[in-house]
């Protein structure tokens, strides 16, 4: 620090408080308890505790994670269900086609046998 800054530091050094300052602060605080005892203020002081904030943050993360996991599971289940339906429909179409082909083959075979007789 240069001399100019030193004189600034000297000018701005801490000052003593006026006499009775602590008592005035404590007197004003003594007027507070009625308000502080209300359930809302007690609850606010309780939730303002850092440990509780961390616990709430962890809980929120756990809930969010669990919801995301459930949603993903449900989406997978829906996709599986859709695939099952599609396979079922494909099998049904194939079976209809096969039946028609078998019927045609049977009719062709019957026609051939009659013509031989």
């Amino acid at each position: 620090m240069n001399p100019w800054e030193e004189s600034l530091r000297e000018a701005l050094r801490r000052k003593d408080v006026p006499p009775g300052f602590t008592n005035r602060v404590l007197a004003r605080i003594r007027e507070l308890p009625v308000r502080e005892k209300r359930p809302w203020f007690r609850f606010r002081a309780f939730i303002a505790r850092p440990a509780l904030r961390w616990a709430a943050a962890v809980l929120c993360l756990a809930i969010a994670g669990s919801v995301a996991y459930r949603e993903q599971q449900q989406r997978q289940r829906q996709q599986g269900e859709l695939a099952r339906m599609q396979v079922k429909q494909a099998l049904h179409i194939a079976s209809v086609k096969l039946n028609a082909a078998r019927k045609m083959v049977r009719e062709v075979n019957r026609g051939t046998a009659q013509s031989r007789l």
Partner: protein, 184 residues
């Protein structure tokens, strides 16, 4: 603030957490000079600074649960003292009044100090724009690093640097005018 002071403060906070109400009185006694001085150098009025400092400790009492360490306590007090002083300064007329009891007796000062210069500097600081005043007070009263000041005032580091440079420039200029006037 020294390590031993912080240890003492940590012990006080511990007592307070255990429900020892007298511990709050110790906290007030330990930090009242710092809080009052920030407000006083800001407002340049002892009664207003007294009121502002009381408000700060009242708010501390209401927010004790959020204080996690002695370092946090000091940071919190400086921050709230600056905010409170800023709020009060906004409501004041542009030129702050100076009471006679604010001027120190020259005979009570050690010989190497110039009471007239100190008083002049305090007046000049009190006449600075509010943002610049906060930087100067935190820098030269509390002797904080610029990064700490930026944290307390919640502004970027470069803003603190520019405000400090500008404020020092203004102070130098005003002081040279003032001393020139005295010399004439």
């Amino acid at each position: 603030m020294t390590t031993s002071t912080l240890d003492g403060c940590g012990e006080t906070l511990g007592r307070l957490a255990k429900g020892d109400v007298s511990a709050f009185e110790d906290i007030v006694k330990e930090h009242q000079s710092m809080v009052f001085s920030i407000a006083y150098h800001f407002l340049h009025d002892r009664s207003l600074a007294d009121e502002a400092a009381q408000d700060v400790f009242l708010r501390l009492y209401q927010n004790l649960a959020s204080i996690v360490s002695p370092q946090h306590l000091v940071f919190w007090l400086r921050k709230v003292a600056c905010q409170r002083a800023l709020d009060m300064a906004r409501k004041l007329p542009k030129t702050p009044p100076v009471s006679l009891q604010d001027i120190r007796e020259p005979t009570a000062e050690p010989p190497d100090r110039d009471p007239l210069l100190s008083e002049g500097l305090r007046r000049l600081v009190a006449s600075l724009p509010k943002d610049a005043r906060a930087v100067i007070i935190l820098r030269y009263q509390e002797e904080l690093e610029l990064a700490e000041i930026a944290q307390i005032l919640d502004v970027p580091l470069n803003t603190v640097k520019s405000r400090l440079e500008r404020a020092l420039g203004v102070l130098r200029e005003k002081l040279s005018r003032w001393t020139g006037g005295v010399a004439r």
